[in-house]
């Protein structure tokens, strides 16, 4: 009776180990030092949007890029929950770096392709931080589903050439290595492209959230290497996006908790009508509802993380659930934070808008909440 053994096992769910607590503390300390608000503001004004020196410290000092990648491909072999802890802290600090694009999106696209040779060639560089990779999926329509992609790849000289446009590609303009989903006669396929090769044009887009850059990539007969099976990219892409959604949910939960703290700190000191605004019921209730959203977002994010680590077949269901919920929770909290700060919260000088913009843009990234609830309904067989 499997249900009996289920109750007998001390489920690790929802308890962090001492090692995980230590990892969180290390990452938080590092980011407090290396990614304070002043740095976030400096980097968001640059075109590349990150500091290579900090990126190298992340890899060299604490090994963050390789943390959750398999040891045989140069990583440390930690679990997905460990990666989520890192992402949650990065969300708190609004770190400007191509971590989500390189470590979560690109690395998992290669891993999930099942192409061992490609993994052995590309992953060690990503794990070491010496390669920044990006995954180009979306086109003008903004869809992340393989079925909606139109960009074409054609066989030529024993390889392939790509032609067409990709839009909204996270960090595509700064990546050392591009992974591109394009369609051959057989179907959607994954390709590796050296951005320095002829026929690749890259330009940054002006984005709502300047702390995470997006780009437009144009391919005009650019040479590409097929990764995995030709026509076999749909399922690996879908799996990769589930992981990316789960990772992003943790980032969102971290950001949401940070703005709640910010709002509560302010409500305690800001006085109006002779008393701190935190003594007014209207403000208290906003803060209580924010805590409800934050705690729920945390639960949702890590529920999918643990499902990934356990190899549960519910990962897809939970990833959609978490992405939809955490997106709305984060946006809600960042909007309430601005409201609680009043006029000051609307100024450029205050960090409230940075979180608000990050929240809104992550809400859209990988598909909005309505899209993910539709996916959830599909996956549940509703």
């Amino acid at each position: 009776m499997s249900a009996v053994s289920e109750v007998d096992e001390r489920s690790p769910m929802f308890v962090f180990t001492d090692e995980q607590d230590a990892l969180r503390a290390t990452v938080r300390r590092f980011l407090a030092e290396r990614s304070p608000e002043t740095e976030v503001r400096r980097l968001m004004e640059t075109e590349t949007g990150y500091d290579p020196a900090v990126w190298n410290l992340m890899a060299g000092q604490i090994g963050l890029q390789g943390l959750a990648l398999p040891e045989k491909f140069g990583g440390s072999g930690f679990g997905f929950v460990d990666l989520q802890i890192v992402l949650e802290e990065m969300g708190r600090a609004l770190l400007c770096a191509p971590f989500l694009s390189s470590v979560v999106l690109a690395a998992n696209a290669v891993l999930r392709s099942g192409d061992e040779a490609a993994c052995a060639q590309y992953l060690p560089g990503i794990a070491a931080g010496s390669t920044v990779a990006a995954l180009a999926v979306t086109e003008a329509a903004g869809s992340w589903r393989a079925a909606d992609l139109t960009m074409g790849a054609t066989a030529a000289d024993g390889g392939y050439v790509l032609s067409g446009e990709k839009l909204f590609v996270p960090d595509g303009h700064v990546a050392d290595l591009l992974f591109v989903v394009a369609r051959t006669a057989v179907g959607p396929s994954l390709f590796a492209v050296d951005p320095a090769t002829a026929g690749v044009l890259r330009e940054p887009l002006a984005t709502l959230d300047a702390t995470r850059k997006q780009s437009r990539l144009v391919f005009d007969g650019a040479r590409a290497r097929l990764i995995g099976e030709e026509g076999g990219a749909a399922q690996p892409l879908s799996d990769t996006l589930d992981l990316a959604a789960a990772g992003l949910a943790a980032e969102q939960a971290g950001g949401a908790r940070r703005v709640l703290e910010m709002a509560v700190e302010y409500a305690k000191v800001r006085e109006q009508f002779g008393r701190p605004i935190g003594s007014f019921q209207a403000i208290k209730h906003k803060c209580a509802d924010m805590l409800l959203a934050v705690e729920s977002a945390t639960s949702a994010a890590y529920a999918v993380g643990w499902a990934v680590d356990e190899g549960s077949d519910e990962v897809g269901v939970l990833a959609s659930l978490a992405k939809a919920f955490c997106s709305e929770a984060y946006t809600h909290c960042t909007a309430e934070n601005i409201q609680i700060h009043g006029g000051i919260g609307f100024t450029w000088e205050h960090p409230a808008h940075l979180y608000f913009k990050r929240a809104k843009s992550t809400e859209i990234l990988f598909g909005n909440p309505r899209h993910h609830r539709a996916l959830l309904a599909d996956r549940l067989g509703i």
Partner: protein, 398 residues
């Protein structure tokens, strides 16, 4: 009473297996459901019988000491116990067996009081109610006005209680009364055990908007209460009332997850039956409902995990009550919407009978859950509590 088998040393799977064997043999089936007063009495008889069966076989009150008829299980096994009962859909205990009365007695009762009350409480031979709320004092207990005046070796009790769940069926009331001077606030309150059959006690059922009578109002007219029936010292009733054993309560959260999954399963079934799984709006709403249920399940598990690790239930515990209330309401609102035109019928209308579940149950739930954000402290009070105690906003202004 101490003939209870000691199961505290079992492994989780051993306990689960034994409990399943017991349930396979003794499960009494579904509790009769109806809002009519006659059926309410029948329902109570059914629940009392089930509770007696549990107690007789040593399966009642998992967290309470064996010495007083409980099972004395460690927290982890209490969670297994709650979960197994939830999975098996056993009837719930009548009239707050696991509510505040037991913990208050266990925490503050004298040996003779425990000897007298615990056995019948656990077996549900005697039913209890909690006389806290008053017409002019809901959550604001500090302003309660029912007076208990010392008179020799007795107190004489006069006042009115309201919203008292099950008072019209109860044998005893854990009553809060003012013993200090008017204006003494929370510091002047004493906890007394009141015999509901004593002269001067009148309990009148209070018909609520569902048409049923879950609550009663209680008139206390110069009721004589022996001082030996005082729980704790005079003027310490506030602490007695708040003896809610947060740890023990958090173990029962383990069963909530099962319940929520089941209820959302029923909701999806309703949607399918009514052909309401095609439209994008309906599917979005159903996905939201599933999300809400999962979130409650996970929040419960997080609190439980923390408690099992030896920690405090933490901030999340106070958040869950609010989360639960909002979820329940939203779920039944959606169910009413899914019923379409039939949502306008009374819950008892027989046109609502459909499938395995009477659709009137959703409509009764739609009405009943209006109380979810009111009872045991309104949602506003709960938000204040979260803001004050968890987020520390109480410090800023007194």
């Amino acid at each position: 009473m101490s003939s209870n088998p000691d199961r505290s040393g079992l492994s989780a799977s051993e306990l689960a297996l034994q409990l399943r064997e017991f349930l396979a043999e003794h499960h009494p089936g579904r509790t009769p459901r109806s809002t009519s007063p006659l059926a309410a009495a029948e329902r109570l008889v059914f629940q009392k019988a089930w509770q007696a069966t549990l107690a007789e076989h040593g399966w009642a009150a998992p967290g309470w000491p064996r010495r007083w008829g409980g099972m004395g299980l460690p927290l982890r096994l209490q969670a297994v116990h709650h979960r197994e009962l939830a999975v098996a859909r056993t009837p719930v205990a009548p009239s707050r067996i696991g509510g505040i009365v037991g913990p208050a007695l266990l925490g503050y009762g004298t040996a003779p009081q425990l000897e007298r009350f615990m056995g019948p409480l656990i077996r549900a031979d005697e039913l209890w109610c909690q006389g806290f709320s008053e017409p002019d004092a809901g959550s604001d207990l500090a302003s309660l006005r029912t007076r208990a005046v010392p008179d020799g070796s007795d107190y004489r009790l006069t006042g009115r209680k309201v919203w008292t769940s099950g008072a019209h069926f109860a044998d005893w009331m854990l009553c809060l009364a003012r013993t200090g001077p008017a204006g003494s606030g929370a510091a002047g309150i004493t906890a007394l055990v009141v015999d509901m059959h004593a002269p001067g006690v009148t309990a009148r059922p209070l018909r609520d908007m569902t048409g049923g009578a879950h609550f009663a109002e209680v008139e206390l007219d110069d009721v004589v209460v022996p001082a030996t029936d005082r729980i704790g010292a005079e003027n310490t009733g506030w602490a007695v009332a708040r003896a809610t054993l947060g740890h023990e309560r958090s173990t029962s959260l383990a069963s909530s997850g099962m319940r929520y999954r089941r209820v959302t399963g029923d909701l999806l079934e309703l949607a399918r039956r009514r052909g309401r799984t095609v439209d994008a709006y309906d599917r979005d709403a159903l996905a939201r409902a599933v999300t809400g249920a999962r979130l409650l399940e996970w929040s419960g598990q997080r609190v439980l995990a923390r408690v099992l690790e030896g920690g405090e239930p933490g901030p999340l515990a106070s958040v869950i009550r609010l989360q639960h209330a909002l979820f329940e309401q939203g779920l039944h609102e959606l169910a009413t919407d899914l019923l379409g035109a039939q949502g306008a019928l009374a819950p008892a209308d027989e046109h609502l009978t459909a499938g395995g579940k009477h659709d009137g149950a959703w409509l009764r739930g739609f009405l009943r859950t209006r109380a979810s954000t009111i009872g045991a402290g309104t949602a506003e009070i709960q938000r204040n509590t979260i803001a004050d105690r968890v987020l520390g906003l109480a410090e800023v202004w007194r």
